[in-house]
Symmetry: C2
Subunit: 700 residues, 2 copies
Amino acid sequence: MPSFDFLILAPAGSIFALTFAAYLAVKILKSDPGNDTMQEIAQAVRVGAKAYLKRQYIGVSIFFAVVFCILLFLALKNYLVIFVPFAFLTGGLFSGLSGFIGMSIATQSSNRTAAAAMKSLNSGLRIAFSSGAVMGLTVVGLGLLDLSIWYYFLNWYYSNNPIPQNIDKIGAITSTMLCFGMGASSQALFARVGGGIFTKAADVGADLVGKVEAGIPEDDPRNPAVIADNVGDNVGDVAGMGADLYESYVGSIVATSALGVAAGLGIKGVTVPMVMAAVGVVASIIGTFFVKSREEASQKVLLAALRKGVFTSSFIVAIISYFLIRFTLGAEHIGVYWSVISGLIAGVLIGIITEYYTSSGFKPTRFIADQSLTGPATVIIGGIAVGMMSTALPVIIVSAAIMASFIFAGGLQHFEIGLYGIAISAVGMLSTLGITLATDAYGPVADNAGGNAEMSHLPPEVRKRTDALDSLGNTTAATGKGFAIGSAALTALALIAAFKDEVVRFGSTMQLDIMKPAVLVGLFIGGMLPFLFCSMTMRAVGRAASKIVVEVRRQFKEIKGLMEGKAKPDYARCVDIATSAAQHEMVLPSLLAITAPIIIGIVLGVEAVGGLLAGSLVTGFVLAVMMANAGGAWDNAKKYIEEGHHGGKGSFAHKAGVVGDTVGDPFKDTSGPSLNILIKLMSMVSIVFASFIIRHTLFK
Amino acid sequence: MPSFDFLILAPAGSIFALTFAAYLAVKILKSDPGNDTMQEIAQAVRVGAKAYLKRQYIGVSIFFAVVFCILLFLALKNYLVIFVPFAFLTGGLFSGLSGFIGMSIATQSSNRTAAAAMKSLNSGLRIAFSSGAVMGLTVVGLGLLDLSIWYYFLNWYYSNNPIPQNIDKIGAITSTMLCFGMGASSQALFARVGGGIFTKAADVGADLVGKVEAGIPEDDPRNPAVIADNVGDNVGDVAGMGADLYESYVGSIVATSALGVAAGLGIKGVTVPMVMAAVGVVASIIGTFFVKSREEASQKVLLAALRKGVFTSSFIVAIISYFLIRFTLGAEHIGVYWSVISGLIAGVLIGIITEYYTSSGFKPTRFIADQSLTGPATVIIGGIAVGMMSTALPVIIVSAAIMASFIFAGGLQHFEIGLYGIAISAVGMLSTLGITLATDAYGPVADNAGGNAEMSHLPPEVRKRTDALDSLGNTTAATGKGFAIGSAALTALALIAAFKDEVVRFGSTMQLDIMKPAVLVGLFIGGMLPFLFCSMTMRAVGRAASKIVVEVRRQFKEIKGLMEGKAKPDYARCVDIATSAAQHEMVLPSLLAITAPIIIGIVLGVEAVGGLLAGSLVTGFVLAVMMANAGGAWDNAKKYIEEGHHGGKGSFAHKAGVVGDTVGDPFKDTSGPSLNILIKLMSMVSIVFASFIIRHTLFK
């Protein structure tokens, strides 16, 4: 063990992140909130978003209470360590808190970004990006806090109390902490699915009646669903994305720790991922200072500004990790460093590829735009073909990262350390989450700022600036999704490996041989689940959207003077409808994710569960990439047409492009991103219920 | 060994099937060919189809010549038994011959079906169904013939020549025969992909310009692409489907034989699947006599008529198999009988579920039709959601069939015999192929008969009768696709198991543990390949269709008097364009299927190949079901609207429904069905190249 206890850097990093986030938040709140109209609109969005989250948290609380009781019961029956039910609660709490804080600051920032954009492009960028950074740093800060508290508590506890059988102290700590991700995963699933349904129902509803039927522009204040649409950006893209990545972040660290202990690295195996995360915090904060722009910057320059921040952070992590691993694990394990680098590089490459397939600057999206000349059917076929094609390179990159990080870490000589290498590549990818999430969460703020500018009739140059920021946000959102999917795949893989270790620790054997019928059947069912899950969430969006459509039509008909701008629509009613629809619709898909591994485990045993996890990981990953990229490409193909190509706005081609965009909405913002959480949550549930499944399986 | 050599029943069954097929063919050819116009139109389709097949066979011959040389080289270098290159040729030849004969009779039957339909519905049904039966019986007859010839030849050869090391005589026979499927698979892939591209390019091209732009009805003789469209039905749905199922049929029998020998059953392990196939021939022929209908029969009654034939055949196989297994394998292996029954039941259930999801008589298709009220985007989302949802039950059924047939056969006590049980369940499913394929290949004949009746201006009651037959064909086509996918999944699984046995026989180890990075990476890449393959084939359809669009537009513009019916369009030119486009476009996807396992094997070893096959099996199966069912449901939702619902033909809803149908065309007729062959062909390639891969892999 090194003489200096590096681990103390983890809580230090957490406090640093949270302090800096608070500093940024205060700075944002002190900036100009804009005129009365702007504040009023932002207030409406804020109230709607809070109302949504409140409803959501009430529903989720009931779920958490029920699961807490089940876990407590299992703990009392000795299936689980007694701390797991409580850790389940803290994970859920912190994950929810990340989303809540991120969303609170985002809804405070939209009007301020619009106000700043009245001064200059750079001012607008700084506010919007700072808001994203608050979110990013809150996520990593709370994640590290949760992990640190539990680590030190368990370390103290097991130093003064008997350690469970067949395991040493550090093993007891990590295997307990491994179960913590379930709380965060559950919260994340609700946030992603509920938020995703809300945002797309409101968006589709607003567009179908407002843009298509009534012929009023986007973000027009006369549209009753316009506030709900803006609320949706916040609850789906901000709170949902935050909870999702919180979960990947924490999950990758605990899985790596557990695999490190299983590989015989002891406390050092825990220190490396925790401290690397802390290093990432500092690197992310330094990176934020590099994000600035001059006036009249092109899209490319703006993107380069964000990239500069991210690359600087990655570079810092890459340098410091070397010394960290060198001094913690020693020279014989320096290969682990190259595993980290594999993860970092894979993350960057997936981002670049995502951009290629979804940006209108490149061939695939232009191809979809060309297809619009022969109508909506060819747009759809073209988009699905591009989405499917776009899965090839990310799969190859993740595969290469898996192989490379396994071999670099020394997996050919010592299998377990190879798995540790794979897991730590995910930590490497996620270490700079503070800033990568900032570039992502920045998008909805810019989007809302544009909406705010439109609704408060600000001068056109302001809208032009917010449009530039918003359009950049579309690109970062696409790369952010690629990053979220890639990191989720590696994290889920680490979790499956950890699941196997747990099963073995509970005295059961586990040989995931594909030729075994149970494993194979697990693989088949696991491969199908993402399709079923997507089907459920897509239909949920459809049902929720049709409720919004009915309501918007009603308001247009019944509220006198609405179209003339003399009367105000009832925004709250639309928010309310979308909220209750989302809450209602998120139950079934969530239950599917949680119960599937338990049912399969009881019916077919733990090996089938292993197959199930692997099958859903493979299909879920491929399907998520396909849906995210097809959706992004359709969106940008439509924008490309709107810029004046193929006849521009209102042309036959544009109408076909709008159909593609509408189909892409639930693809990229509801079903696709939820798949990340589906695969992680199923792994987490399997880990927590491993001992229960082993003892109660029907088929052994 | 039983005193009576049951095996002799296999060649007997083959001859019986071919004789009966010839009898039916003569009967069809002797029936009334209709008036001159009818004969002339049928002649045009026949000429087009033959021209296509000729071109295709020339292209394929080059491919076969090249691969033959490669295989010969490998055989001379001792990587393969010397017979494999020759067996590769016979497999390809017989598979191609099945498609050719089936298509020849189909193109002779369309005008005769129309002529018969002038008399009565039953006469029309009998001709169309007989044509399908010729196809079905030719496929099984030629399949059994190929297998019998090689079995007896190899048996004679190894009785008089030294047997290879580590293996007994029967092992040498089965492991040689195992390689034979590659020829049939390659031919099938070309037929399915090429035919699928041809048929949809012609269909989409004819519709986009004819129906949408020029506003003339479907099958109108003024449309220059109308003959190409009819040709497409024959080359895609008849020749393609025939080659596909020929391959499943032969593949399942050789894989079962090989697994039977590996399980220690010796010659008896070979006898059971071969003789069961022969029993299926007799059962199928008996079943054909049950297919008849009275006049003015409803859709339900017609369907029941076809079902009666299929169920009777299945019932006969179920009865005789019991005695076959009882007297061949003995009482201790009677569990294998229940494996067969599992396969039979799974086949029937998948058919029923496919019908539920794709027929307008049930909720899912009606739901899609309802979505048309809010436009094309919601139709697309609804169709994809239904398609995804429809994967759940087939996956569960196939999973249950796998588990059941494994356990029934005694896999829990003796693993290898369990695998034999899984393989033989596929043989059970496919044993009645003679008649199930008949109900499927009947569809395009009825479809063409309708086209023939339309173009030759027959009285409306004839068209009404052919429409009834055609509409029935849509249902049987959907169930046929479900059946093809289900049987392909089980066959591919048996082939993977056989691949593993081969690898072990060549002295390599193979442990397909999912946690091994190579297996996992194989799983990932395998899971992605079906998406990439679909993307390629869908884009190919798009490109080919746009060439047809250009040509049809040109003819409408340049040929004077065409729209007035005074001049004739240049049908042959459209056939020619579709042919050369299909030939050109089928190369790349086919190369992907053939090279992927070899490349992965050389780079990452045989275990990665195992992962690759499993991954593509899982994703390919799920994706194929999704695409086939979504396409079928869109098609029938459009037809449902055309029947007068939601505003009927020409309404806003109908236009939205047409978009869904057009998107569904490549889904259900090109990309989806090709996936079956992709997964089987990759398994076959892996088996044939196993020894080469083992010796030349870079990563061991």
